[in-house]
């Protein structure tokens, strides 16, 4: 029970920080809109509607990239992480709190992105919505631990996209497949498998990333 309370407190800290500073979320919202507009001009007029689904997923991944890159940098710069590691909480709770906060940011960005996509390109199916929800879990789970790894190094912002993109390619496959594939359920199941496998791995190994 204390575990749940720790996680909630940590997630609340991130959300409160965002409410006061308003740094990440406005940037994500503007970025996803700007990306969709840019894609409108990147697609030739006779491109198939299916191609635009792929672009939606690229926009989602890049927006996540923008939001998660800085997830652990304030913690490192202000030495919050030292305090958190010393605090009597399970270290995986730090990861889970960050995952929940990231999920909230991603969800808010997609609440804008999906209607905008429907407006600019074509309607969004329920399959795509389900795939986005499943993908968000995987993106946050993998993103939070990789951001902690990248923040420990010198390159930081530069490093995170390079770590994140190869690992997120399966998410891209699952998301696009759920929209255009013959059998969307298979792709949704694949996304769920990805979420499960990587969430367990990240949850179990996070303490080694932050222990000094």
């Amino acid at each position: 029970m204390t575990y749940v309370r720790d996680v909630a407190a940590l997630a609340r800290k991130d959300l409160l920080l965002e409410l006061r500073a308003r740094e990440t979320l406005p940037a994500m919202l503007l970025f996803v809109l700007a990306t969709l507009v840019a894609f409108r001009f990147a697609l030739p007029a006779d491109a198939s509607e299916r191609a635009s689904v792929g672009l939606l997923w690229v926009a989602i991944l890049f927006t996540a990239l923008l939001g998660i890159t800085r997830a652990f940098i304030p913690e490192r710069e202000q030495r919050v992480l030292d305090g958190l590691v010393l605090a009597p909480v399970d270290r995986s709770a730090i990861w889970l709190g960050k995952v929940l906060a990231t999920l909230a940011f991603l969800g808010a960005a997609e609440l804008v992105a999906l209607p905008a996509f429907g407006l600019f390109f074509e309607g969004v199916t329920w399959n795509t919505v389900a795939a986005v929800v499943l993908a968000d879990v995987g993106i946050s789970a993998v993103g939070a631990i990789l951001a902690a790894m990248a923040a420990a190094g010198r390159a930081r912002e530069l490093l995170f996209p390079i770590l994140f993109l190869p690992l997120s390619l399966p998410i891209l496959v699952g998301g696009v497949g759920a929209a255009v594939g013959d059998d969307p359920a298979r792709y949704l199941a694949f996304l769920a498998l990805y979420d499960g496998v990587f969430a367990i791995l990240a949850w179990a190994s996070f303490e080694y990333v932050v222990t000094e």
Binding site: M149, A152, A155, L159, L165, P166, V209
Partner: protein
């Protein structure tokens, strides 16, 4: 030293068998013989990644710092052999299908993703300050790698359904006994070669580390 000699002998024997003794493939002709290099190289790359992840697991489990260098060196070997897999696969694709790259070839696409992933491993490692923190973070990343291999393979198979259908398959005639024997010799040779390189590099890196420690001790003294 004895591993190096064994690697040289077995590898030369394997190449000789592949070029002179193994029967010619009915379909592909002489170009099929690159199979005896390409596939053992690919399996050796997997062995490198797997060995690196195993050492990473040992590091996290026991905290023994020597596993860090072993894991790093194994992944270094895996990446070198993985790059060779891409090169030999590309050459094979050119001779059999006339193109340097085919997205229909699952193993090649998988190696491209793995190449990107493990190239980032080195970026990560060189960005982190030296010490036990770097060892642990590198180890966690190495574990993500071995989990990514099957997940990516599954993703590539799923993606074929909507990107484009499989045009080329390699499930031609079953391998004959002669071919399989040649393949096994080549695989053993390649693994021995990787083992030799691994032991050499490990010894070199340990020497480096020792030298640095001695130098620091001298400067302090």
């Amino acid at each position: 030293m004895s591993v190096a000699v064994a690697a040289a002998v077995v590898l030369v024997a394997g190449v000789a068998l592949a070029l002179l003794w193994a029967p010619e493939d009915d379909d592909q002709g002489p170009s099929q013989r690159i199979f005896y290099l390409h596939v053992p190289i690919a399996l050796t790359a997997y062995a490198g990644f797997g060995w690196g992840a195993w050492k990473a697991l040992r590091l996290l489990w026991t905290g023994g710092q020597r596993y860090d260098l072993e894991s790093y060196t194994a992944i270094h070997m895996g990446t070198i052999f993985g790059t060779l897999t891409l090169v030999t696969g590309s050459i094979w694709a050119r001779t059999s299908w006339g193109v340097w790259w085919s997205w229909g070839e699952r193993q090649l696409v998988l190696f491209l993703i793995l190449f990107l992933f493990y190239a980032a491993y080195f970026m990560l490692r060189f960005s982190l300050p030296d010490g036990p923190g770097r060892a642990r973070i590198s180890a966690v990343y190495a574990l993500f790698g071995v989990v990514l291999i099957p997940i990516s393979f599954l993703a590539i198979r799923l993606a074929e359904n909507f990107i484009h259908p499989v045009v080329f398959t390699r499930d031609g005639p079953q391998m004959s006994g002669d071919m399989f024997f040649t393949f096994c010799v080549c695989l053993a040779g390649m693994l021995l070669l990787a083992g030799t390189l691994y032991l050499n590099e490990l010894a070199g890196k340990r020497l480096d580390l020792r030298l640095r420690e001695l130098r620091e001790a001298l400067e302090l003294g």
